[in-house]
């Protein structure tokens, strides 16, 4: 089933023509990998897809519904992970998740436990202020947030950055189970994604 489709997206940032007619389509169980040199517009494309940037031209469809103007239906089913995590260093991992996920769907204490344990943050680490955690651990909290939102589509910008080998494996496990459950993802990264070839689509953006 076709989930996300973008047709002929154009985006200007100042005088640079960042996206020049980008089209893409993502179906259930598919993962679209965005590659391309720095400045090719990977992050911008992700931000257009989640509605943070409005394209100058082009159309966006979510479940075959035109949401170019009204992205609500897409946003309600979408988890976006950008360069910024949206976390507060003064709050613990649990508190951050309870807030960011709680605004979208009701999360029980068990949900929070499960999501944080799944990314390897159990026990006391859940309750320590985030600033006491390492960069890699903070990224794991962000992954837990994406996971906990239970969104149909994941839009991830360099999710593997800062993660150690175990962290990368963890990410791939999470991604694989998300795709298996009928979700889809758009991931901007240069590192190879261990997703089965049949589920992987690649899109290379030109600078």
């Amino acid at each position: 089933m076709m989930l996300l489709e973008a047709r002929n997206l154009h985006l200007w940032r100042g005088e640079t023509h960042v996206l020049r007619g980008v089209s893409l389509a993502v179906q259930t169980g598919q993962c679209l990998q965005l590659t391309g040199p720095n400045g090719a517009g990977k992050s911008s494309l992700l931000r257009v897809l989640c509605g943070l940037l409005l394209p100058a031209e082009g159309q966006l469809f979510w479940r075959d519904l035109d949401c170019t103007r009204e992205l609500g239906p897409l946003q309600r089913e979408c988890a976006y992970l950008g360069h910024l995590s949206g976390h507060k260093a003064e709050l613990s991992a649990r508190e951050n998740l309870a807030y960011l996920c709680g605004l979208r769907r009701r999360c029980s204490s068990n949900d929070l436990d499960a999501a944080l344990e799944a990314v390897g943050l159990a026990g006391a680490a859940q309750h320590r202020p985030l600033r006491q955690l390492s960069a890699g651990q903070q990224r794991r909290v962000a992954l837990a947030r994406v996971q906990l939102q239970r969104s149909t589509i994941w839009l991830l910008d360099e999710p593997i950055a800062n993660l150690d080998i175990q962290g990368q494996e963890l990410f791939h496990r999470l991604l694989a189970s998300h795709l298996k459950d009928g979700g889809c993802a758009v991931v901007a990264t240069h590192q190879p994604l261990s997703v089965s070839e049949s589920a992987l689509v690649r899109l290379e953006l030109q600078a």
């Binding site: 200007w12 940032r13 100042g14 005088e15 409005l54």
Partner: protein, 254 residues
């Protein structure tokens, strides 16, 4: 389709051409009306039996005051159009309005103050209209300050559009509150311009000045908007053709 002209106007090249065609008409009629109105008002019109010659500053003051609010409304309306329909041309018009409106506001304040000296015996009186006018000047300055602080053009357009809309909602409330505040102080209300009793020999040049001022404002906004469009569309391909054309045109005239 009836809305075709609206969509056409949204295209920068089209707007640039149409505005260019209108400019001479607007400009010349503003000049003719303005000169006639000024000569009539400042020289030919009879002097006021109460205020003497001093009242003649009205011929500059009243149109400026009217244009200061009219320009603000135009700025806010075009900003709203730009925000809702994502229309770059409308943002250009809105951006062109601000310095012009600020100048009108300043002229209205300066002439009001000049008029106040002989009438009230002071350069500045906390008269409700003058106070509101001063606040309007601050609103313009805020708009211009915000615009110049944001580097990204699209963002500046949209943020400033929002500010203009917020401002236009506030202007009536500000005006009313200043009136209310002033009513506490029992200011000399005799000193207000007595328009209804004005004889035709005074009224006609005043109306001419209003018309001339409005036409002048339209001319300036269109000229500035054209400049704004040139600056924004400097990467567009239509520009070379358009500018080349108008350069050729001015060359012919000479």
């Amino acid at each position: 389709m009836t809305w075709l002209w609206f969509h056409k106007l949204a295209s920068p090249p089209h707007f640039y051409r149409i505005a260019g065609r209108w400019l001479p008409w607007l400009g010349w009629s503003a000049a003719v009306l303005g000169v006639t109105g000024l000569v009539w008002g400042l020289v030919l019109a009879p002097s006021d039996y109460q205020q003497g010659e001093g009242y003649r500053i009205l011929y500059v003051h009243a149109p400026s005051a009217w244009l200061s609010t009219f320009t603000y409304t135009t700025m806010a309306v075009s900003a709203a159009v730009g925000l809702v329909w994502r229309m770059n041309v409308a943002h250009s018009v809105s951006a062109s309005c601000a310095p012009l409106g600020a100048s009108f506001t300043f002229v209205a304040l300066a002439t009001g103050s000049l008029w106040g000296k002989p009438m009230w015996g002071t350069w500045w009186e906390w008269d409700p209209r003058l106070t509101s006018e001063l606040l309007l000047l601050f609103l313009y300055l805020g708009y211009m300050g915000l615009r110049s602080a944001i580097e990204d053009q699209t963002r500046a357009d949209r943020v400033c559009a929002l500010l203009a809309i917020v401002g236009v909602v506030n202007v009536p409330i500000i005006y009313y509150s200043v009136e209310w505040w002033n009513s506490l102080h029992q200011a000399p209300s005799v000193m207000k311009f007595g328009k209804p009793t004005m004889p035709a020999s005074m009224l006609v040049p005043l109306l001419m000045m209003f018309a001339a001022g409005t036409l002048f404002a339209a001319t300036m906004v269109l000229m500035r908007a054209r400049g704004e469009i040139l600056r924004r569309e400097r990467v567009g391909t239509w520009l070379e053709a358009a500018v080349g054309e108008s350069v050729a045109l001015t060359g012919e005239k000479r």
